[in-house]
């Protein structure tokens, strides 16, 4: 009497024997399919390189925009906060530097950029750059 193990073994052997002797047409089609998939894989890295180049540029651009927005909303640079505005005072002035404060924005922008990017993005894309620039000693 055959056990379940015998049945499993004999069916496996029969199936394996059937794939060991596939006809030439099937083998040829399988080879073509494999090459098509490998060609597809070969084409994909170009998109990978593009995306790898695009991500840092996009991150830099986005961080600059975020930094400018954050800087412009600082209470000491912008107009008085909305809570203190009264109907008589009208709409708060746009958040731009007043005349005479012209020297502040560049330094503040630089300070805001590195801090705020890390805060907003949750990571620091310049880690690698800083690591390279750190003195080895």
């Amino acid at each position: 009497m055959r056990t379940d193990g015998d049945i499993e073994r004999s069916t496996r052997l029969a199936l394996e024997a059937s794939v060991a002797h596939l006809d030439a047409r099937v083998r040829s089609r399988l080879t073509q399919a494999r090459h098509a998939a490998l060609d597809e894989l070969r084409r994909r890295p170009s998109r990978g390189w593009l995306s790898r180049a695009f991500v840092p540029a996009a991150a830099l651009g986005a961080s600059a925009v975020v930094a400018i927005l954050l800087w412009s909303q600082r209470p000491d640079v912008a107009s008085p906060p909305l809570a203190t505005a009264t109907p008589e005072q009208g709409v708060p002035a746009p958040a731009i530097a007043a005349p005479g404060e012209g020297e502040a924005p560049a330094a503040m922008l630089a300070a805001a950029t590195s801090d705020d990017i890390a805060f907003v993005l949750g990571e620091d894309p310049f880690d690698a750059a800083f690591a390279v620039e750190e003195p080895s000693g």
């Binding site: 049945i7 004999s10 069916t11 052997l13 399988l30 073509q32 494999r34 894989l41 890295p45």
Partner: protein, 197 residues
């Protein structure tokens, strides 16, 4: 600049290694995948198309996944493609069933009762062992419910473990064990009727 060149070389090496790994993987699975698809679809050309689609989809969608995950993912894709094709066939069959000519063809293609008659040969099990009964085995496997057949072929033929089979079938490991056990029981009853009684 040197850093960029080294990075590029490294990337090329990684891509070459990945291509080589995919080629090894496809060579290892393509024949069994074809046979599994053929047993499901009962059509050689459809099975070849499904295997090619599955290879392309694996590369397109999952090339970044670790190599040990490729096999369950590949068979998951294959099973989905097989199911899609079977569904299309059923839909097409329902639509064309209204055509008299097609209905006549369908009547002609009904299974021959002679095929279900008891074989005069020494026994199906001996035929399996001799490797002469692939068509018989195919017929028996075709009679299994779809999920039992999938579990049996992935576990027994392709050699996936229970966890990988569950991942490929999109079900729990317990379900795989149940399907597999029932498939073996049914096969035993079909191949060795004396033992089953």
């Amino acid at each position: 600049m040197t850093f960029a060149l080294d990075d590029g070389d490294e990337m090329q090496q990684v891509e070459r290694a990945q291509r080589a790994a995919f080629e090894r993987f496809f060579i290892a699975v393509e024949r069994k995948a074809f046979r599994i698809a053929q047993l499901e679809l009962r059509d050689e050309d459809d099975a070849l198309d499904v295997v090619q689609d599955s290879m392309l989809q694996l590369v397109r969608a999952y090339s970044a996944r670790p190599e040990p995950e490729w096999k369950p993912l590949f068979y998951r894709i294959l099973q989905n493609r097989v199911r899609d094709l079977q569904r299309r066939r059923r839909t097409r069959g329902r639509i064309f069933a209204w055509w008299p000519a097609h209905r006549h063809d369908a009547e002609e293609s009904d299974p021959d009762p002679a095929n279900a008659a008891e074989s005069p040969l020494p026994g199906p099990h001996a035929q399996v062992e001799l490797g002469e009964s692939m068509s018989i085995l195919g017929d028996i496997l075709a009679q299994l419910p779809e999920r039992q057949r999938q579990a049996f072929l992935l576990r027994n033929f392709e050699g996936l473990d229970v966890a990988a089979t569950a991942a490929a079938m999109g079900c729990t490991e317990g379900t795989v064990k149940t399907h597999y056990s029932r498939a073996v029981h049914t096969l035993r009853a079909a191949l060795d009727p004396e033992a089953a009684t």
